[in-house]
């Protein structure tokens, strides 16, 4: 069974541009989570989508947004990129179960110059 996939692997942008990151969850998983992992820091929760709806967002500005498509894949958009947005962006998926066990993709390394 395929795991969570993310694209692209690497993304280089300049300050002020927009970035779009994509995630395909494990088949059967309806929830998708996005995290930011800056160098030397832990995982910071960004967004949670379930059944096409945004269920919760972390303490990030509105220029971080996304959506979930009918096939449960998801997109993270970051507008007006800033240098400090450089990080590994991780997507995770989970199914509706009693415990929120999340399965992660390999991440997209975003570099803002």
């Amino acid at each position: 069974e395929a795991g969570v996939t993310q694209s692209p692997t690497h993304l280089i942008k300049t300050r002020g541009q927009q970035a779009t990151l994509r995630c395909s969850p494990i088949s059967g998983h309806t929830s998708v989570y996005w995290y930011q992992q800056a160098l030397g820091l832990g995982l910071q929760f960004l967004l949670w989508y379930d059944e096409g709806e945004e269920r919760n967002r972390g303490n990030f500005p509105p220029r971080f947004s996304g959506r979930q498509f009918p096939n449960y894949s998801s997109e993270l958009n970051v507008n007006a990129l800033e240098l400090e947005d450089s990080a590994l962006y991780l997507c995770a998926s989970s199914w509706t179960s009693q415990y929120n066990e999340q399965f992660f993709g390999p991440g997209t390394r975003l570099t803002v110059l």
Binding site: L43, F45, A92, Y99, Q102, P106
Partner: protein, 111 residues
Amino acid sequence: TQLLEQSPQFLSIQEGENLTVYCNSSSVFSSLQWYRQEPGEGPVLLVTVVTGGEVKKLKRLTFQFGDARKDSSLHITAAQPGDTGLYLCAGERGSARQLTFGSGTQLTVLP
């Protein structure tokens, strides 16, 4: 203030040694998970503990959930270079379906 505090932050040991990593909080968690992350990859789920006092074993790794469900530990016996990685604990509070991650413990096992 980090909701989940992990210690130590960094740990470098020789192959064959034992080690324990701690994950502490003042909050109660309905479940707690441990992940391992290698450079350039996403975290991989190792175990989920849900009952206070629960102990789970995964080969040479032993995970324990505190009686009050506020803390957890990971013990590795006879560490091997393949155990090298960033170990992360993550807790879920109530039915929020949102994980809070600790800052991680970077483990290096030297051959």
